[in-house]
Every structure is written in C-alpha cells, then in structure tokens.
C-alpha cells in the first residue's frame, strides 16, 4: 500500500512538475476555457447552456488523450519499465496510477470551471449534481482507458500523436462541444456516436444540465463504462515492458476492441 501511495504521489507531482503535462492538465484546458468564455459566449449565446460540460469534456480529452499516453511511450522506450520490472513495480500500477492521477488533475480543473463559469460568464451550473459527477467520472474513466491503451500500443512518440489526434480532433469537431449534436447531418451524427465526447455531452445534457438528450443518456453512461473497462483491460493485456526483442501477447490492432461499445451504441441505442 505504501508503495502504491508513494507511486501515486510521485505521478501526481509529475503532472504539475513536467512542463508538457502541466500544459495538458491545466494550462491548455483553463486557457481554452477562458478564451471560449470571452469569445464564444458573445458569438453564440446558446453555447452558454452547455459551456460547463463542454469545457469539462475538453479538459478530460486534452489531459487523457494528449497528456497521458506519451510519458508511457517515452518511459518504455527509455528502459524505465525494465527498471520497474526488476524492482517489482507491477504493470497494473504503471498503467493505472498515471490514469488515476490524470483523472485527479481533471477533477481540479473541473472544480475550477464549474465554480467560476457561473460567476464569470453567467453559465448555468449543473441542474443535477449527481448526474454531473457520474457523467464526469465515467467520461474521465473511459478517456483515461483510451489514453493508457494508446500509450501501450504506440511504438513511438510520433505515432502517439497520430493515434491521439484520431480521437481528439473528431471529438472537437463532432463531439457536441462546439456544435450541438442536433445540428449535425444524420449520417455524421451517427458517426459521431463513435466518440466518447459525443456520449459524454449527451449524458451531460440529459442527466446533468436538464436539457433534452439527443439519444438515450443512460445508454451513453453504459457505453462509457464498458469502453473504459475494455480499454484498461486491453491496455493491461497488451502491455509490454520493453519493445526490444520481445513479443506482444496480442496484435496492437486488438486495441480497436475498446471502440466496440461505441459501435454497439451507434447501431442499437
């Protein structure tokens, strides 16, 4: 337990100490929030309705998809996991602790956004706090799982950026943060359901903000939970201590199975 707590404390401090992680965990989400609050609310007053969930989803996406994977890849490439293996650091801790500390950083950012947006920009606070917290936790869990999975399967930092952007950029455009889901063409909307951001924004609308959901918000929660469980399970299964002369337990493309709940949701929800 002491080792886990020590490891957790070190990883949490790293999230602030490391300049790149500080940028991903705090500066970019909060800077973007301030900018959107100042600019977007003037251009599109309807944005205020979902400003808090949208900024929270953005913060989660940046921290988990852009911040979390690369340190995992870098550590593996630098032989740090070899040293961890020799000294008894379990693979579970290597994957789960950074994911948990990243989630904790997003909690801090979420508290800042939720506390200040009503005061600074007149954004409506969540109407249903338990729904808001539950949706936040499941979105953070699902995205942290995806981030860990990307870190595990990615062979290099360059590929990490590619994999991360494959989820991040469509999420920004189609995830319901900037543009409401209802305004998307039907086919594009269906495709957008493959993104965690779409599911989270739908759940936030229906379960937290007191707005009409675009599709079943409970199903969105189930999809996020299932995706998170699958992503973490796959990350642990595909985890490699060392890329040199070792064989993986499974092909990296198995990671696509983490998207299965979204596909099921798109087809049946």
């Amino acid at each position: 337990m002491s080792a886990f707590v020590n490891h957790f404390a070190f990883e949490f401090r790293t999230g602030v100490r490391n300049k790149t992680l500080l940028m991903m965990n705090y500066l970019l989400p909060l800077g973007f929030y301030a900018m959107m609050g100042l600019v977007m609310t003037g251009i599109n007053p309807l944005f205020l309705e979902t400003m808090i969930p949208a900024m929270v989803v953005f913060a989660i996406l940046v921290a988990t998809l852009l911040g979390l994977p690369d340190p995992l890849v870098t550590a593996r490439e630098a032989g740090i996991f070899r040293s961890y293996k020799i000294n008894g650091v379990p693979a579970f801790s290597i994957l789960v602790i950074p994911a948990l500390t990243t989630m904790l950083h997003t909690v801090v950012v979420t508290v800042i956004i939720t506390a200040t947006a009503p005061l600074l920009f007149d954004a409506p606070p969540p109407a249903n706090w338990p729904g808001f917290v539950l949706t936040f936790l499941l979105m953070a869990f699902a995205c942290a799982g995806l981030g860990a999975l990307i870190g595990v399967i990615s062979p290099s930092s360059r590929m990490t950026v590619l994999w991360s952007q494959l989820v991040f950029l469509p999420s920004m455009l189609l995830g319901g943060m900037m543009l409401p889901y209802s305004m998307l063409p039907e086919a594009v909307g269906k495709a957008a359901q493959l993104l965690p951001a779409t599911q989270a924004m739908n759940a936030f609308r229906g379960l937290a903000q007191g707005l009409p959901a675009d599709f079943d918000p409970q199903a969105s929660l189930v999809i996020l939970l299932a995706s998170g469980v699958l992503a973490f399970g796959l990350a642990l299964y595909l985890f490699n201590w060392d890329r040199r002369n070792t064989t993986r337990r499974g092909h990296p493309l198995l990671a696509l199975l983490a998207l299965l709940p979204y596909v099921m949701g798109m087809l049946f929800a």
Partner: protein, 305 residues
C-alpha cells in the same frame, strides 16, 4: 563446497535465426566478483538480462540463489539488485523520491544514507535530468543496493564517472564483497575487470571463450612479457647483443625493451650481461601481459586457446 549463488547450465538465447548465446555454463560463488567480458554482440547483455528476469531463456537453465528468474519473478526481485546501463528513471523524479519510490516497492525503509555515501547528499532535491551522467550512475547504484540484495548486477558501472567517483565505487564494491554480496560485473573496461574481479568469463559469439581469474587468463595466453632496462653505460645498446627467449627487441627513450616468452632466463641473462660489462643497472621493469592484451588476443583469434 557451498552451492553456487549463480548457476548457469547450457543457457541458450536466440532472436529469430540469430543465436545470441549458444549453450554456456558457468557458476559464481558467494562473495565473488565475477566479470562478464566480451565485445559488443558477444551475448553479455542477453545473459545478464536473462539472469535479471528480463528475458526468458530458449534453452538450458539459470538459477540465482536457487530462484529461476524466468518463473519466479517475485522471489527474484528480493535477491537481486541491478544497475542498468540505461537510465531506468523518469526525468522528473527527484533523487530523494527515487530512493523512497524503489525502497517502498522493496518493502524497506528509504536508504538516504546511501546518498551521503555516494556523494549525492547535496542533490537530494534535484530532478534526475538535472544530474550529470556520473551522478545518474551513482544514483542507479544507490537504488540497486538500497534493499541489501545478496546478488548485485552492475552493467558498465563506472562508465562516465570521474576518477574520485570511480575509486569510491570500487571501494563500495569491495565492501559489498567483504559483506558477502555476490557481484556480476559486465564491463568493457579491462583494467577495472582485472582490478576488481575474482574471476572473469570472456564471451565471444555466444560462447565462453575463456574463464578463470585475471591472473590465470593472462598467464595462459601467448602474450609476451615486456622487460624494459636502462643502464648507466652502453652495455645493452649494441644490437648484436641477444638474450634467451627474447622474440623482439627495441630501443626507446634510453630504454632497451625486450619481449620475452620466458621471463626467468631473459632477466637472468640481462643482469649477468650488464655485470659482465661492468655497467650499472639504473632501472629494470617487468610488465606481464594485461587482461586487455589477453582479451584482444582471444577476441582477434576467435577464442582459439
């Protein structure tokens, strides 16, 4: 004789079609410093990493304190300490955090005293990337010995160290040996191996080309012993003067230098000749072939003995 601490039998490691280690055997006794030498690609790293549990052997057996590294990882980590060649630490970890972190995973109290011992006390709050290469290696060593492992693997431990750090590290190794720690030392530094190791094995193309104490190895080679002589007069300056067992002779910086295959008769004849010429001996030095000479001889002749 007690059971060896490390027992390697018919160990084989392959990567696809490439045979990195081809059925080697060796044993290491408790309290020994055992040098693992060889050129790049000889199989040292594969052997070390298999003993450390990082790789599974493709044949033969390995045991460290009776533990099979490939199958008993939990037991293994309590009996070995490893100073890896690569960094092994995140850039942002502080020195004191690293000690706390690794000691916690080994279930022992943090060994901050090692930081004083290894000259890192004033770097306690420094992050890993802020340390010099030598300081990073000293920290890696502190982490490797923090849980008092009975077996220690050191991979190029003095690479990048300045002279005082190197001396301090060698002193620490000697203390550990006296305390009963078994040390496997992989190094390219032949002087270090000759000075520190009780026994060495020279690996070549996946096989052990030679094994024994540094003294035994240097004695069994075809290397010539160098005899350098300086006299007051010119009794040795005449090229026609020859001595028994000398295969080559040169003159350099007022010294007559002879390369002998049999040192006894050569030295005796030189002294007798100088005395007979009523000359005075100023300096006489005998230099046996070094481990480095023997290593080069083995690696260039392909290990034929």
């Amino acid at each position: 004789m007690k059971d060896p601490v490390i027992k390697v039998r018919g160990f084989r490691k392959t990567y696809g079609d490439f045979v990195a280690v081809d059925g080697i055997d060796f044993e290491v006794q408790q309290g020994e410093i055992f040098g693992l030498l060889g050129p790049n690609g000889a199989g040292k790293t594969s052997t070390l990493e298999s003993l450390e549990g990082l790789r599974a052997p493709d044949g033969g057996s390995l045991h460290v304190m009776g533990v099979d590294p490939a199958r008993q990882a939990r037991k293994l980590r309590n009996v070995i300490g490893v100073q890896l060649q690569t960094s092994g630490l995140p850039d942002s970890i502080r020195v004191d955090e690293a000690i706390k972190f690794f000691c916690a995973y080994h279930g022992v109290a943090p060994r901050y005293d090692l930081l004083d011992r290894l000259g890192l006390a004033d770097k306690r709050r420094a992050q890993y990337y802020q340390l010099s290469a030598g300081q990073q290696r000293r920290l890696a060593l502190a982490l490797a010995v923090a849980h008092d492992p009975p077996v220690l693997f050191l991979d190029e431990p003095t690479a990048g160290l300045d002279v005082p750090s190197r001396v301090e590290l060698h002193n620490l190794m000697r203390e550990l040996r006296v305390a009963g720690t078994t040390i496997i030392l992989a190094t390219h530094d032949m002087a270090e191996a000759e000075e520190m190791a009780d026994r060495v094995a020279i690996l070549l193309r996946g096989k052990i080309a030679a094994t024994g104490s540094p003294l035994e190895l240097t004695a069994t080679g075809a290397g010539l012993t160098k005899v350098s002589v300086r006299t007051k007069g010119s009794s040795l300056s005449e090229p026609s003067v020859t001595f028994p067992a000398v295969s080559q002779q040169v003159f350099k910086d007022e010294y007559s230098i002879y390369f002998s295959t049999d040192i006894g008769p050569t030295v005796a004849a030189i002294i007798a000749h100088v005395e007979a010429q009523e000359d005075t001996l100023i300096d006489l030095r005998v230099e046996r072939p070094s481990l480095e000479d023997r290593f080069l001889e083995i690696t260039t002749t392909g290990g034929a003995q």
